[in-house]
């Protein structure tokens, strides 16, 4: 996956780049409008991560420009700290695929990128097998133990999302904050150490345990959870 990262803030640029490279993305960098414009004209990308407030131009203009280029089929994700409400609407109107207000979680960013990829290539039956014979059907949003005829594990929407997120980032420790942000999105939640995540995890484990061993969800003390 070829990504163009357009971000003028050097430190942030560095962090995002590092994270994406660790996640096996090929990252190209642009720090200014003109640099980005040039790269968009020459190369084709799978993703463009676009900061709107560039020193020499408006990021939205880049989006508009590259939507006119036929060969540029990149999915655009807008990253902004401007806090301007119109930006989101304008961006999505212009054909951006997603919008993340700063500060965002890098994990959330890569999850959104994965979701866009799935949408784009129309992966029909995306299944994840995990644990001892558990199968998650991402499209139908079901979890079963054993074959397709076995009964569903009765997970609520939030429990399913939580499990899915853990499985997407398998063998990586996810903090409660990262999980919470994914589940509740950008809502201003004022209790950062909410125990809702813990309760959800407990319920997921309990429900899965009725079908098979559920010890693949590990608690990492003081940090969070990990699916192995």
């Amino acid at each position: 996956m070829h990504v163009l990262l357009v971000e003028d803030e050097k430190s942030l640029h560095q962090e995002v780049r590092q994270f994406l490279q660790q996640a096996q993305y090929l990252v190209d960098s642009a720090h200014t409008f003109s640099e980005a414009s040039e790269k968009l004209y020459v190369n084709s990308y799978d993703f463009v991560l676009l900061d709107l407030g560039l020193p020499d131009g408006d990021g939205l203009e880049l989006l508009r420009e590259s939507r006119r280029l036929e060969k540029q089929e990149a999915s655009f994700i807008i990253l902004t700290a401007r806090g301007d409400l119109d930006d989101r609407i304008k961006g999505l109107d212009l054909g951006a695929d997603d919008y993340l207000p700063k500060p965002f979680s890098l994990l959330e960013l890569t999850s959104r990128m994965q979701a866009i990829t799935r949408r784009k290539f129309g992966l029909k039956r995306s299944e994840i097998t995990f644990g001892d014979q558990f199968v998650m059907d991402v499209t139908a949003r079901t979890v079963r133990h054993g074959g397709p005829e076995t009964p569903e594990v009765p997970l609520t929407k939030k429990e399913f999302d939580l499990l899915h997120y853990l499985l997407l980032h398998k063998s990586r420790v996810l903090t409660r904050l990262q999980l919470g942000e994914h589940l509740w999105g950008n809502v201003l939640e004022d209790d950062s150490d909410s125990n809702y995540i813990d309760v959800h995890i407990k319920n997921v484990r309990k429900k899965l345990a009725q079908f098979g061993p559920a010890d693949f969800i590990e608690t990492v003390r003081g940090i969070g959870y990990r699916a192995v």
Partner: protein
């Protein structure tokens, strides 16, 4: 009452007053005029008679059989002339030489009221007579005739007055309507039609009335100023959010990257998670303040009609997992539903989410959350009630205080109620609603949202 209506009313009333005044004043005036006019005519007749006597001598008028007196009247008995001889004057003051009065007189068997000019003068019977004798010359004009004239005049005057009044009432109203058109336009098109300064139309008013011109110009100038300061504030907020959120973003990303390192010792990892949590709090504070500032700065549109029932159910659905985790029952009853006109759907959702999530958070396990909506005179009231521990009366006023709250400490401090309430309050007033709290320690708390229709 509208200016035009007031002008119209004043106009109508003043015209009515004028007519009443006319009805009261015109008859005596007309009467007076008629009398003066009659008197003048009588004087002219006297002059004619005297000149006739001077030319032909009195003898031609007098007849023996009438004892040297003379009387004559015209056929319709409207006027008569009588000349009667008088004895020698007893004193000079006996009569004024000329006198006007009204008296009945018998003329040819009929008695009628006359306006009479009585004149005493020395006259010569024949031209050559040496000493003139005293005669009384009486000329009368029938009062019936005078009255007829008076009535006609009076009626005419009244009709002209009424017609004039009615006509001017209409022309005045029409003129006022025409004159006030720019003002009407200013109010309906420029002021009433807009909900925020951004919608103000700067198109100049078509008028040559200086006052309206000035009003329009100063309004436009004020609005320009307002818009400019809104714009400045918007820019400022945009810069502030950029300056505050970018470093936060850098830190958050850095923490995430650090946590990725598989060689990271566990103690360090825990410290990073702690730092992440602190950063999260900072981030939320910044975002709350930005959100409040943006709402107060009118950056959100009120472009939707939002059903409260729908929103409450959406929010309740969203929070259902938390509710079930704590085995709290919910009771939603909005009878009837209320559709908030000119609302912002996202903001209303946030408002109700904050209220409901608080009601869940501060409830005891197994309690109940009630959302009750009822119409009330002049609006609608929505109550979100919980069975929680309640809030001490001292702390109630501090609940919505966005700055004090952040520093409040102590177990019973309202700090626990979180960032949600100042936001809720701001969103409520953005929609012209009032948010207040009622609470009884040990019984529960109710947040009351009052919409005015």
């Amino acid at each position: 009452m509208r200016l035009e209506t007031k002008l119209g009313l004043f106009n109508g009333l003043s015209k009515i007053l004028l007519v009443v005044l006319g009805v009261l004043l015109i008859p005596p005036i007309v009467q007076r005029v008629a009398v003066v006019h009659t008197d003048q005519r009588l004087r002219e007749k006297r002059r004619e008679v005297l000149s006739l006597i001077a030319r032909d001598g009195l003898a031609t008028f007098l007849r023996e059989e009438h004892d040297e007196a003379y009387a004559d009247y015209n056929i319709l008995k409207q006027e008569y002339i009588a000349i009667t001889p008088l004895g020698p004057a007893e004193s000079k003051l006996e009569f004024p030489a000329e006198r006007f009065f009204e008296e009945p007189r018998q003329v040819d068997k009929a008695v009628e009221d006359f306006r009479i000019l009585s004149y005493v003068a020395p006259l010569r019977t024949t031209k050559g007579e040496a000493t003139p004798r005293r005669y009384r010359l009486e000329i009368g004009s029938s009062l019936g005739t005078v009255e007829l004239l008076t009535n006609t005049l009076r009626a005419l005057a009244l009709w002209v007055l009424v017609a004039g009044a009615v006509l001017t009432v209409f022309t005045d109203a029409a003129f006022a309507h025409y004159l006030l058109r720019p003002l009407r336009e200013l109010i309906t098109r420029k002021l009433r039609g807009i909900r925020q300064p951004g919608e103000f139309s700067f198109e100049r008013l078509h008028t040559d009335t200086t006052d309206f011109r000035r009003l329009d110009d100063s309004l436009s100038a004020l609005m320009r100023q307002l818009q400019a300061s809104f714009e400045k504030e918007r820019e400022f907020m945009s810069n502030v959010s950029h300056e505050l959120l970018t470093p936060t973003s850098i830190l958050q990303s850095r923490f995430e990257n650090m946590l990725q390192d598989p060689t990271l010792p566990e103690t360090h990892a825990q410290q990073i998670v702690e730092s992440q949590r602190t950063l999260y709090r900072l981030r939320n504070t910044v975002r709350t303040l930005l959100l409040i500032a943006n709402i107060e700065n009118e950056q959100y549109l009120r472009d939707a009609s939002v059903s409260l029932t729908q929103t409450v159910h959406d929010v309740a659905e969203e929070l259902d997992d938390r509710r079930q985790q704590r085995e709290i029952t919910r009771h939603i009853d909005l009878a009837p539903d209320y559709v908030v006109p000119r609302a912002n759907a996202t903001l209303l959702h946030t408002l109700l989410r904050n209220l409901l999530s608080n009601a869940l958070k501060y409830n005891h396990e197994g309690g109940e959350v009630r959302v009750l909506g009822r119409p009330q005179p002049g609006g609608y009231v929505l109550r979100v009630e919980d069975d929680g521990p309640g809030i001490a009366p001292d702390n109630l006023p501090l609940l919505f205080d966005r700055f004090r709250r952040f520093h409040a400490t102590g177990p019973k401090a309202p700090e626990g109620y979180g960032l949600g309430l100042p936001i809720a309050k701001t969103i409520a007033s953005f929609h012209g609603a009032v948010l207040r709290a009622e609470s009884e320690v040990g019984v529960g708390t109710a947040f009351v949202l009052e919409f005015t229709a």
